[in-house]
């Protein structure tokens, strides 16, 4: 129905209290219960607004002036609250026209859609639903506690969702036509409300309170979060719903754990208690949402509750993983003497071919020296060794695109990380080195050394005393209890100072085996992993400043060469290898009894 008082193109112009106003109506107005509304333009400030013309109360109504004052009071409260201003579509200005009719020009919320539209289209994810619920209840807490008002006419249409990009939305509450200020005794113009969203007391024309809003919020939250939807089928029976029989809701998704979910379901149900005194406050509901997921929550993963966290890669067979590879070791297991697990961590980019070849040539003498020991210098032999080869490149470069991933797969023999299981067989070690193809890298590259090192350190631990994991963990887990744990790095490049590995971002199975997110981690975290796992790390690297900081870490020994081209290969000379082995066997021979414990 076209409203002649509020038609498209109409200019509303005049002066109120000495201040001029000039608005243009952009669309024919829509008639509500007490106002006509629609989009408009403030022609003085050149700003789009939402215009609202009140035909009720009329200026001749005995309480008209009180109503106008009341509206101003509400707006003042909103203006004074930093929180409320963000959550409520604010008043641009209000004025009385030449016939003394009351108008409001409200903030125009660009690109918004109301919650009802989203619920109808079912175009919202569970994550978004949870966020809406939290912010909505936060807004209600602000309304009740800071503004001291009851909205009285909450419904999904009055919740605007404003897209912010990345599937995120901000929320704006609208329609503050006739809220109730809690400190006002007389409300001569009655109480607003929408059938299907009124509380029981509101329905029988009692004055709505904050708890009446809570009831209505409960109805909206049922629609938003519960499989049951609106519990009273308001569309069919509108005002006749029986508020005594709200079903217990069942959430459409989870807030993180069963305890939280049950608490939220109970809280939603309590919000619909017929007796207002039995309902929670908006703040209580907000707190329940805010703490969902828990300030205390059951330990995860649930299946491993009798164990501490399983730190091995996720590829292990699910049933076996918790029991076979764990960071647990029974107490008082005899420490192994002269045992070592060694990982050769090699930069596998293009320029590393000579180094890999040199390592192949020296691996035999390395192992020989390792198991020989040196009685004259009181160095015990490493009688029980396991070793494996791991190649690494640039995580980000490799996972930048499908195209890159394909190239790495085709020419590099895998992704950014080429991992092999521990072996006691020297031939197998040779074969692991043979498989390593130099690929990738570039001029003055930085590779993902810290990421690779961290993943190697976090490859899981075998239970104390266990010597091999067999197939269960991909053969990568470290032995515990007195076994020396050594990583020897060979690289001719620098490294990214912060890690970027994230299992979810890897395009390769191999990389995704480690269920970790290391993004942003750096030397602090690496230091902790080295120290807490009693690792020793040797790094053969070029003489570049990148390695200054790495050399500050404890248990990290950097061996650098000034010769850019042949340096790394020369460093694999007998003397350097001897020095390395010296250090390794000393570490392995060290008794783990160099600590003592004090009972508390």
């Amino acid at each position: 129905m076209k409203n002649t008082l509020f038609s498209k193109g109409e200019i509303i112009e005049g002066e109120d209290l000495g201040v001029p106003y000039k608005f243009q109506v952009l669309k024919d107005g829509i008639q509500g219960s007490c106002s006509v509304y629609g989009p408009g333009m403030d022609l003085i400030q050149n700003k789009r607004v939402f215009l609202k013309y009140y035909f009720d109360p009329r200026p001749k109504a005995p309480w008209f002036s009180a109503f106008v004052e009341y509206q101003k009071k509400i707006q003042n409260r909103i203006e004074q609250s930093t929180n409320a201003k963000q959550l409520i579509a604010g008043i641009h200005r209000y004025f009385q026209d030449h016939r003394r009719h009351f108008w409001q020009a409200i903030e125009y919320v660009e690109n918004s859609r109301d919650l009802k539209t989203y619920l109808k289209s079912d175009d919202i994810s569970w994550d978004q639903r949870m966020t809406f619920a939290k912010v909505f209840m936060f807004a209600m807490k602000i309304l009740h506690q800071e503004l001291r008002l009851v909205h009285c006419d909450l419904k999904p249409e009055n919740l605007l969702l404003v897209p912010q990009g990345n599937d995120n939305y901000s929320i704006k509450l609208i329609d503050f036509d006739r809220p109730i200020l809690l400190d006002e005794e007389e409300i001569p113009w009655g109480y607003n409300g929408t059938p299907g969203y009124k509380s029981p007391e509101h329905k029988i024309h009692m004055r709505p309170t904050e708890k009446s809003d809570v009831f209505t919020c409960g109805l909206i939250l049922y629609e938003l979060l519960a499989k049951e939807g609106h519990p009273f089928n308001y569309a069919a029976v509108s005002d006749d719903y029986n508020e005594n029989i709200a079903p217990t809701p069942h959430l459409l998704g989870t807030f993180g754990n069963e305890d939280s979910d049950r608490l939220i379901e109970e809280t939603l149900h309590r919000m619909l208690e017929p007796n207002p005194d039995d309902r929670p406050t908006a703040d209580e509901v907000y707190q329940v949402f805010f703490r969902a997921g828990g300030s205390i929550r059951p330990k995860t993963p649930k299946a491993a509750q009798d164990h501490t966290r399983v730190t091995q890669p996720a590829h292990s067979a699910p049933a076996a993983s918790a029991s076979v590879v764990t960071n647990q070791s029974p107490v008082n297991v005899q420490a192994l003497k002269g045992a070592a697990d060694i990982v050769f961590l090699l930069d596998s980019t293009g320029s590393m071919t000579p180094c890999i070849t040199a390592l192949k040539q020296h691996i035999h003498s390395f192992i020989e020296a390792l198991i020989r020991g040196d009685e004259s210098r009181n160095i015990s032999p490493v009688e029980d060794w396991r070793a494996r080869v791991v190649g690494y490149r640039d995580f980000e470069e490799c996972n930048k695109s499908e195209k890159n991933a394909k190239l790495y797969r085709k020419f590099g023999g895998g992704g950014w990380l080429i991992s092999n299981p521990f072996t006691r067989d020297e031939n197998e070690l040779h074969s692991q080195l043979d498989k390593l193809k130099s690929f990738g890298g570039g001029k003055a590259p930085q590779e993902s050394l810290l990421d690779a090192l961290m993943l190697v350190l976090k490859s899981g631990f075998l239970p104390a005393g266990q010597q091999d994991a067999g197939e269960a963990d991909g053969g990568r887990a470290w032995r515990t209890n007195g076994v020396g744990r050594i990583v020897i790095v060979f690289t001719d490049a620098g490294y990214h100072p912060t890690m970027s590995y994230c299992a979810e971002k890897t395009l390769f199975e191999e990389g995704a085996l480690y269920p970790l997110d290391l993004r942003g981690a750096g030397l602090d975290e690496l230091q902790h992993a080295i120290e807490s796992g009693f690792f020793k790390v040797y790094v053969f690297a070029p003489n570049i400043s990148d390695y200054d900081e790495l050399s500050d870490l404890s248990n990290v020994l950097i061996m650098q060469s000034d010769d850019e081209d042949e340096g790394l290969v020369k460093m694999m000379s007998d003397s350097q290898i001897e020095r390395l082995i010296d250090d390794i066997v000393k570490g392995v021979s060290r008794s783990s009894s160099d600590f003592r414990e004090i009972p508390i």
């Binding site: 997921g293 929550r297 981690a521």
Partner: protein, 142 residues
């Protein structure tokens, strides 16, 4: 000035790491500070071992912490929402308290600024040593 929550666009005041409207957490580093003022920090989940305590309490208190692997007293865990949790290790001979209350190893406890974590005797949890204070800094803060 504050920051806009990327999840709900609410303007959060400076110094707060969490959006009070939707609960979004900025990514933070967890810092543990010992009674002697030493600090240890991490951006990723970690087990707090005797070695960690040795940094925090280099003189004596670290000797209360079991030395065996797998007997670390607790872990700090960062979840996908950037919340930090404490998880006591049920296999450790020592117990852990959070703000004086004994931690159940079957639970994870949300860590807040100024929380205090102590090592306690399993037989008498009122005997607590080596307190650590929890704080946070933004991931990229120096």
């Amino acid at each position: 000035m504050g920051w806009h929550c990327p999840k709900c666009n609410f303007m959060v005041e400076d110094g707060a790491f969490q959006c009070m409207a939707c609960g979004y957490h900025q990514e933070t580093r967890l810092i543990l500070t010992s009674g002697v003022g030493n600090k240890w920090r991490t951006l990723i989940s970690a087990e707090i071992t005797r070695r960690t305590y040795k940094r925090l309490y280099p003189d004596t208190e670290h000797q209360y912490i079991p030395r065996n692997e797998g007997e670390h007293p607790f872990s700090v865990i960062k979840d996908a929402e950037n919340n930090w949790f404490l998880q006591a290790n049920g296999k450790s001979p020592v117990a852990v308290t959070l703000n004086g209350n004994l931690c159940d190893p079957a639970r994870e406890y949300l860590l807040n600024n100024d929380d205090s974590i102590s090592i306690a005797s399993r037989s008498d949890s009122s005997r607590q040593v080596a307190p650590l204070t929890v704080s946070f800094i933004l991931k990229d803060a120096v």
